[in-house]
Symmetry: C2
Subunit: 153 residues, 2 copies
Amino acid sequence: MTESDTMTGADEDAAVGAWAKRCYMAGRAVMDATLRPFDLGSTQWYVLWHLAQSGPTVQRDLGRKLELERATLSGIVTTLVRKDLVAQSADGTDQRQRLLSLTPAGHALWQELPDLTFIHDAAFGGADPADLETAARVLRAATENLQSLLKKD
Amino acid sequence: MTESDTMTGADEDAAVGAWAKRCYMAGRAVMDATLRPFDLGSTQWYVLWHLAQSGPTVQRDLGRKLELERATLSGIVTTLVRKDLVAQSADGTDQRQRLLSLTPAGHALWQELPDLTFIHDAAFGGADPADLETAARVLRAATENLQSLLKKD
DNA sequence: TGACATTCGTTCGCTACCTATCAATTATCG
DNA sequence: CGATAATTGATAGGTAGCGAACGAATGTCA
């Protein structure tokens, strides 16, 4: 047993949580390394991806889809606007909302970006589909348990 | 299927990678909320935890145990030193190394901190042990696959 | 021994999360 | 209608992570 096993707790349950973190961090590291030549962060890529796929989107809606707090997305959008990849325009109906869309430069960059499918394939491609389903179910249940723990407070 | 599919939450919510992130974030949120009254971050807690359990530790070793880069741990240690919870002293044999230990205030705070095992219990307590084992195995394999992807570059 | 390489901790600059708060806007309800 | 509540986006301040680069200390090897 390694020291990190003891760190995360003596039982197997804790190990799942620790591996969830490691897996997330490792995935992000690969994504960041792939996008570094393009001066793009992983979450910035998700924003471009969504806008390229779904077209102009109200900022709040995008935040809900990417599961980011308003403040988090606000900062990322500011960065992308500064890079002239995303435009933030007023929406006619609700003056509070901002409509996000790709600029021409954003469109152009999106065309040049490599396909990131290989990341997911490398990570999970060799796994038994049934095991993947089980892992997803365990993680989903844990997430919901934890979130309901926060609500209760 | 890429990470992007998972983020959109379209219908493929069986995506393990996305749930790994959600699970990690949710766990950290509960931990942060629990530790907020004590003005402690989650990783700061891990540092105190290890020092309370294992006694004085060379900084680099602690970094390896907690799987943190030197730069990351350096910042966290600085914060804990500023709060007078951790002391950073010179080690006799190697003048490069710093020996970390709990200060009296650090010991005192540690005694007052609540038990955090309820978090893992709430998250994974209701799951089938076999499923937990499967989830851990899937995540571990994915992590190793991703890390070897980084080495190759 | 001396030259070179490695290691440790720090610092810098960055991404990406969060909470709390604020101004502006819109929604709701008496 | 008007007062109050809720929502949007921005900002401030904090935590957590990374890579790159640097000085000091240590290891290695010709």
